[in-house]
């Protein structure tokens, strides 16, 4: 048995060694002229820079307006349209490129442009919501498209990391740029920002913060994974002194990703707990009384204690509600506070001749 194991290990080491060799080789390769030019286009200079900022501002406001109306109208198609108009990918990729190139000035400019876009998009969301405030009355009837942006989780981090990697991979390869809009749709930078503005205007602080968290997640993760892809594509600081800075720069972006990952993990965990509790409640209701239908269910699991607000309907008035609470407690494994409202199905049959 031990002999067989050793052979397998040797074999694996060879494979890993081969991979490492390939990796080292690819790192040594310098990007070609076309790739350099593609990246350089991210950094307009002189008059072109002013023109770029003006165009960027116009596009971000237009994109944010489309997103705001799409979100309030609860239209996924319109929101996707807004993502295609959004110009935020350019300064974000510029941030990644400036990071790996260790161009401090360009990095600062790119970050300022992102900040400008962020503020403008939130502002547009806020104003649009204020103007068409009749469409949404409060946090309870937020459109699904807005709500969807207020529940960030670890899956969103995964999407942003892979989409950022795709962006970093596509950027120096002009033949693949047709795929870039797909990246924009996958990570969707403008809709969460607009959702921040809308929810803030509606006075929903918690939702606002969570939408912002979703945006920051996307931002940090894209910059990080795009930077890694650019390094793998051979981009490096041109000056020898700057090369040493590179590692710390990449570490800073990694730290930013970790910083958003912490609240995201917490939020994901509480979402998972709530989802479990929700499943337990619906299962136990069926086992408790199969004639009862759930009309509305709100659950909250905090510190191992469950709060369940339930509206149900059915033909027979239930008599042993505490048994339902006991069943949920046994499955959930902690104290349960159940508040249940019951609506009886009443049938009226009349005739007039």
């Amino acid at each position: 048995m031990s002999a067989a194991g050793d052979t397998a290990l040797d074999h694996e080491l060879t494979a890993i060694g081969r991979l490492a060799h390939q990796f080292r080789e690819s790192l040594g390769r310098e990007p070609d002229g076309d790739a350099e030019a593609a990246v350089q286009e991210l950094f307009p200079t002189g008059a072109a820079r002013v023109e770029f900022v003006v165009r960027f501002s116009a596009l971000i406001m237009l994109s944010a307006s489309i997103a705001a109306f799409g979100l309030l109208a609860d239209s996924a198609a319109v929101v996707i349209g807004a993502m295609l108009v959004a110009p935020l990918m350019t300064p974000i990729l510029a941030t990644a490129a400036a990071t790996v190139r260790a161009h401090n000035r360009e990095l600062l400019i790119a970050l300022l442009v992102i900040a400008l876009g962020t503020v403008l998009a939130i502002l547009v969301g806020f104003l649009t919501s204020a103007i068409v405030s009749d469409a949404v009355r409060g946090t309870t009837d937020l459109p699904g498209e807005v709500k969807a942006r207020t529940f960030p989780g670890l899956l969103d981090l995964g999407i942003a990391v892979t989409a950022g990697a795709a962006a970093g991979y596509i950027l120096p390869r002009r033949s693949a740029t047709s795929a870039l809009p797909g990246v924009g749709i996958a990570v969707a930078l403008v809709p969460p920002l607009v959702a921040v503005g809308i929810t803030f205007e509606l006075g929903a602080g918690a939702e606002s913060w969570r939408a912002l968290l979703l945006y920051l997640t996307n931002l940090a993760a894209i910059v990080f994974s795009a930077s890694i892809m650019l390094i793998l594509s051979g981009f490096r600081p041109q000056k020898e002194t700057a090369r040493r800075v590179l590692a710390s720069r990449v570490l800073v972006t990694l730290a930013a990703v970790a910083a958003v990952a912490v609240p995201l993990t917490l939020h994901t965990r509480s979402t998972v707990e709530d989802t479990q509790l929700r499943r337990i409640v619906t299962d136990e209701i069926t086992a408790w009384d199969p004639t009862v239908r759930v009309v509305e269910l709100t659950v909250d699991a905090v510190d191992g204690e469950a709060t369940v607000d339930l509206r149900v309907a059915g033909p027979n008035v239930p008599s042993e509600v505490w048994i339902l609470a006991e069943r949920i407690r046994d499955e959930f494994g902690g104290p349960v506070e159940l508040d249940m409202q019951f609506q009886q199905d009443l049938r009226y049959q009349v005739s007039a001749r």
Binding site: M1, W322, E326, P335
Partner: protein, 424 residues
């Protein structure tokens, strides 16, 4: 390869053994089901007094509480004949009926001996039916308290009134200057109306005296008696007249009992006085400091004469059992000890009916204040509606007083319905 097989087999055997062991542990732990009226924080305090002990005793205590406690307990005991092992019943009248009908198991001699060490005989009287000890008070509460915010009373240049007449004149002045004098909410699902019965009981014992009160509770004096009718009239004039209660009568009927105090804490205050039992502190905003310089304070609803302590109407939750299993007796015996109430006494609004607690170390400052009221009073009577037979006290009295407050029936109709039901 053979070694691997042996190792795998060992793992399987080990897993099977530990698995079986776990199930065995579950199987030998007896389960004791307790049913009571406590929910939320009160339920947490109640179970906190049991958990540690139950763990050591190897008993699995399962508590369930319901807002429709009376109806739900009767359903389990009478309708489906599947009672809990232990119930905590605030209504001695219901306890008496369930004992008479043969559902409640009397307290065993061994348990009675332990009870004798922890309780005064007078306190145990609450759990006696025709001389038989069928239960004992686990928690006591004081119904006669009037809650107020010291800052609000100071702004009005008032001090807590010493007589009913003084209270009436303060209420009159508050009504003229604003805000509204009283807060009240009597909605409580199937138990709607009970806060109003408490109000009337406090007025009966003050205006007619404890003898008349006890005779009325026992059924010897009817609702139609003028001394009882007078208390209802006083309640209506003092509290229910337009301008005297927040939101008027319709709001009184629709406001949940535990929401009744909300206007007291609004800014500006929606009312000045809130008459409710000691346990109301538990549903007020958390962290309120109690005392004349604190956020909230109380006075006992005054008597008719100055200088003598006002009568106090008290309630108690009786622990009774429906089973003679040894583990059930063990839980009952623990409930009789001060330990069972300690967590609650230190965290919330709990008055111990036991005689061997040292107030200073046992209670939180809030509960110490309650315990002092109990010590000072010379006239202590039990909550009348809870002591009456359940078909009167915990159903008809509640619904009738609710209908009378809403104006659907006159007092004469209320008295006739209740007296006929009591005679019948």
């Amino acid at each position: 390869m053979r070694r691997l097989t042996i190792a795998a087999a060992l793992i399987v055997v080990a897993a099977a053994l530990t698995g079986c062991g776990g199930e065995d542990d579950q199987a030998v732990r007896p389960v004791v089901r307790i049913f009571g009226p406590y929910r939320g924080e009160e339920a947490a305090f109640f179970t906190a007094g049991l958990e540690e002990w139950a763990d050591t005793a190897g008993i699995d205590v399962r508590y369930a509480g319901s807002a429709n406690f009376v109806a739900d307990l009767e359903y389990q005991v009478v309708e489906i004949l599947s009672p809990p092992d232990i119930a905590l019943v605030p209504q001695p009248g219901l306890v008496q009926k369930m004992f008479d009908d043969g559902h409640i198991v009397p307290v065993s001699d061994d348990t009675a001996e332990i009870l004798g060490q922890n309780y005064d005989d007078a306190a145990l009287d609450l759990g006696r039916v025709d001389g038989t000890l069928v239960g004992f008070p686990y928690r006591a509460n004081l119904k006669s308290l009037v809650w107020y915010r010291p800052d609000v009373l100071t702004d009005l240049s008032f001090t807590p009134p010493n007589t009913m007449a003084e209270l009436e004149s303060q209420v009159q002045l508050i009504q003229e200057r604003g805000p509204t004098p009283w807060c009240l909410g009597i909605e409580a699902q199937l138990q709607t109306g009970w806060p109003a019965t408490d109000w009337v009981e406090d007025l009966i014992v003050r205006q007619a005296g404890p003898e008349v009160y006890n005779a009325w509770v026992a059924g010897a004096i009817p609702f139609s008696d003028t001394r009882i009718a007078d208390a209802f009239s006083t309640f209506k004039a003092l509290v229910l007249e337009p301008g005297r209660v927040t939101g008027g009568v319709s709001k009184v009927l629709s406001t949940g009992t535990q929401m009744g105090d909300d206007p007291l804490f609004s800014d500006p205050p929606g009312c000045v006085f809130y008459k409710q039992a000691s346990f109301a502190y538990g549903w007020m905003p958390p962290g309120l400091e109690l005392g004349p310089d604190g956020d909230i304070d109380f006075f006992v609803l005054p008597g008719t004469e100055a200088g003598t302590p006002a009568p106090v109407v008290a309630g108690a939750d009786l622990a009774v059992s429906f089973s003679d299993k040894p583990e059930v007796a063990a839980v009952l015996e623990h409930l009789a000890t001060p330990e069972a109430g300690r967590a609650w006494a230190q965290g919330g609004s709990y008055v111990s009916p036991r005689n061997d607690v040292n107030p200073a170390s046992y209670y939180s400052p809030v509960d110490q204040a309650f315990a002092e009221v109990l010590l000072e009073t010379e006239t202590l009577v039990f909550d009348g509606s809870d002591a009456m037979p359940p078909r009167i006290g915990t159903t008809l009295f509640w619904t009738q007083i609710t209908a009378w407050i809403s104006g659907q029936i006159s007092y004469e109709q209320l008295a006739q319905t209740l007296d006929e039901a009591r005679d019948g």
